[in-house]
């Protein structure tokens, strides 16, 4: 049952349009987050801010393969997923400002982005706590005969939680259409993979549940895209879950309070050499699919989108304090 993809890097078929699209998506995330970090130091954004910089290929490569009607769940490090999924940049930024125009009305903040239209079910900040939710969402679809895929992102750290075990077993046992995407960035906060797992080949764990699994170069958006395409196609046709381990790396600190004592600068530099954006640019150029002009054009577009997002957030309003006790219970009539 186990399929091990480990695709040769950057050999996947790609045309200009698709290449530009993937690059655009990754740049949107990168520039948005760079801006967020800046705004954090200006204290416009508060609380915890977990950046995805370096890992963009994972969310972008996977999300490409999902239909608008599919379900997505992510962690507290989910700006990338939200943007790639199509949640508006302004709504995400406003959320981080704590404005009521935010995608979760300012109640959630960076760790709890939600969006109904794109079926983006958070933004979950209990590590591993959203894994059982994915099982249930997929179960609902299966029971109704809806041909949706539930795609869930989680980290290497989450794999040690009991919820991982329970959720993988349940989804395999019940043959549920879930795509588990493990973003293995080699650290859970400051704890290295080797200090978290007796077996560090995380894809191997899927075998304990008889689940199809693949380890993929998570710094390569084409590889991610191809692997996820195979997985999503299989899930949509066969109904059984898949597990993808995306081997990736976060370039920044765990959150904004992190002295990064637990890893060597040289290690970070090495991985920066594998920057998914630069890698894609290199490939596309090598294949003569894009020019520097194209890149500048994209950067310009992205710059405008980020600026507009920030403006939207700045222009946003504060939810009245009198509304504090709303949304503890549902206000509308019974469904």
């Amino acid at each position: 049952m186990k399929t091990n993809l480990t695709l040769p890097e950057m050999t996947v078929e790609i045309d200009r349009e698709h290449g530009l699209h993937l690059l655009h998506q990754m740049l949107r995330i990168r520039r948005f987050e760079e801006k967020s970090a800046e705004l954090y130091t200006q204290q416009k954004i508060r609380g915890f801010l977990h950046l995805y910089i370096g890992e963009e290929a994972v969310a972008v490569g996977v999300m490409e393969n999902l239909d608008p009607d599919d379900n997505v769940l992510a962690t507290y490090r989910e700006h990338g997923q939200a943007l790639a999924r199509g949640v508006s940049m302004g709504a995400v930024m406003a959320e981080m400002y704590g404005k009521q125009e935010g995608c979760a009305r300012g109640r959630g903040g960076s760790m709890h982005l939600f969006d109904k239209e794109t079926r983006f079910f958070g933004g979950n900040a209990i590590v591993g706590g959203h894994l059982p939710l994915a099982v249930g969402m997929a179960l609902a679809d299966k029971m109704r005969g809806d041909n949706r895929v539930t795609c869930i992102f989680f980290g290497d750290g989450a794999v040690a939680e009991g919820e991982f075990h329970e959720a993988l077993n349940l989804s395999a046992l019940w043959d549920l259409p879930v795509l588990f995407v493990c973003e293995n960035n080699r650290y859970g906060m400051g704890t290295a993979l080797e200090l978290s797992h007796s077996v560090t080949d995380l894809a191997a764990k899927a075998a304990a549940y008889g689940m199809a699994a693949a380890s993929v170069n998570g710094m390569d958006v084409l590889a991610m895209h191809a692997a996820a395409r195979e997985a999503v196609t299989a899930i949509r046709h066969g109904g059984s879950p898949w597990f993808i381990e995306a081997r990736t790396y976060r370039f920044r600190a765990h959150s904004m309070f992190d002295a990064e004592l637990y890893r060597e600068k040289t290690e970070v530099e090495e991985w920066k050499g594998l920057d998914p954006i630069q890698s894609l640019i290199r490939t596309l150029k090598e294949r003569d699919l894009i020019t520097d002009d194209d890149i500048n054009q994209l950067e310009l577009m992205v710059g405008i989108e980020v600026d507009e997002g920030v403006r939207f957030a700045e222009d946003g309003t504060w939810e009245p304090v009198e509304d504090l006790e709303r949304f503890v219970y549902w206000e509308e009539a019974v469904a």
């Binding site: 979760a104 109640r107 706590g129 249930g136 609902a140 959720a167 349940l170 549902w330």
Partner: protein, 343 residues
């Protein structure tokens, strides 16, 4: 002043045609009705299917509804409770059965950090119409990992609704209301009530899940309780009535939200209040009731509110020790006598 009706006022709508069944059958009938009525409803939990339910509540339902809708789960409380939350988020109306509430501690993170929180955290976008049914209470000599009462504890958590049906009619009729509720509702069924027989209307209607009920009228003291303790309190009230003490007995039914009006009005009338809960006293629901009476009816009190609760020990196995650890009819009667004698 409310006029007295028959002493044990266990039926919500008196005067209608009724028949008798057990609490267990009532819960089963309620689940069957819900599954027949709404195809989004399904039942999921340990041994609900092939075994027929740990307390035989769902006996026969697997045969009737099939394994898709009556779903035996692995031993994975966090996993399947979370799956219930996910299914609810995605349009279903799951009933998750957690065999006993002691095991729900394994699913605590899912219940508190997800079910109770997602609506708020998402700024009102996503609600969780989930019903969790679970058995509660001591009295079967099952010792310290199988006998505790956690309903009062869960009542601390905003975002949850917590109900504790005591009567057969409530067991039969509150489930549908709970399933229609757009919020997560936890239903605590005291396992010693499953064999209880009671009357329900021939044509049961959904009934509210947020109102307390006066189960017996009286002027001398208000006794506020719920769940299985209701029957101990009613028994005590019977004994006390023979001694000339008229107790007003309030069945809370819902522990979150609390229906302040019903019990406060009663205390304003009787000027004395006793809270009875088989759960532990400290930081329990009995404390909250006492504090609210303090806040809302202090000047109507002739004396301090008292509490008769479970003794603060993990429940022991030996019968005499377990009995001593739980409030008994005589403890309740003695407390009332002391309080009424007092002034």
């Amino acid at each position: 002043m409310i006029t007295k009706t028959k002493p044990n006022n266990l039926l919500v709508t008196p005067g209608v045609e009724t028949y008798t069944l057990t609490y267990r059958e009532a819960v089963r009938e309620a689940m069957r009705e819900a599954m027949l009525r709404d195809e989004r409803v399904f039942l999921m939990g340990e041994d609900v299917g092939n075994y027929g339910g740990c307390f035989a509540v769902s006996m026969g339902m697997l045969e009737e509804f099939g394994p898709m809708r009556v779903r035996d789960t692995p031993l994975s409380e966090s996993g399947f409770t979370g799956a219930g939350i996910g299914a609810a988020l995605n349009g279903m109306r799951p009933i998750v059965e957690v065999m006993t509430c002691n095991f729900s501690l394994l699913a605590m993170d899912q219940i508190v950090n997800n079910a109770a929180t997602i609506l708020h955290m998402s700024g009102g976008l996503f609600n969780v119409p989930l019903v969790i049914r679970t058995a509660t209470g001591g009295g079967k000599q099952l010792a310290a990992q199988h006998s505790h009462s956690w309903e009062g504890w869960y009542a601390h958590v905003p975002g949850l609704k917590v109900i504790a049906p005591a009567t057969v009619e409530d067991a039969r009729c509150m489930l549908w209301t709970a399933l229609e509720d757009p919020n997560p509702v936890m239903i605590f069924e005291n396992s010693l009530l499953y064999n209880l027989k009671g009357e329900i209307p021939v044509d049961p209607q959904p009934i509210d899940i947020d109102k307390a009920r006066i189960r017996r009228y009286g002027d001398d003291i208000s006794i506020i309780t719920f769940g299985r303790s209701l029957f101990k309190v009613l028994d005590a009230a019977e004994i006390l009535a023979e001694e000339g003490i008229e107790c007003e007995v309030i069945d809370l039914r819902s522990l979150r939200p609390l229906d302040d009006e019903t019990y406060i009005d009663s205390v304003v009338k009787t000027n004395r209040a006793l809270v009875v809960d088989e759960g532990w006293k400290s930081v329990g629901i009995s404390a909250e009731i006492s504090a609210r009476i303090m806040e809302q009816a202090f000047y109507d009190l002739d004396m301090p509110v008292e509490r008769v609760c479970g003794v603060e020990v993990p429940i022991p196995y030996a019968k005499h020790m377990e009995e001593a650890s739980l409030p008994q009819v005589e403890d309740i009667a003695a407390a009332v006598r002391r309080m009424v004698d007092h002034g």
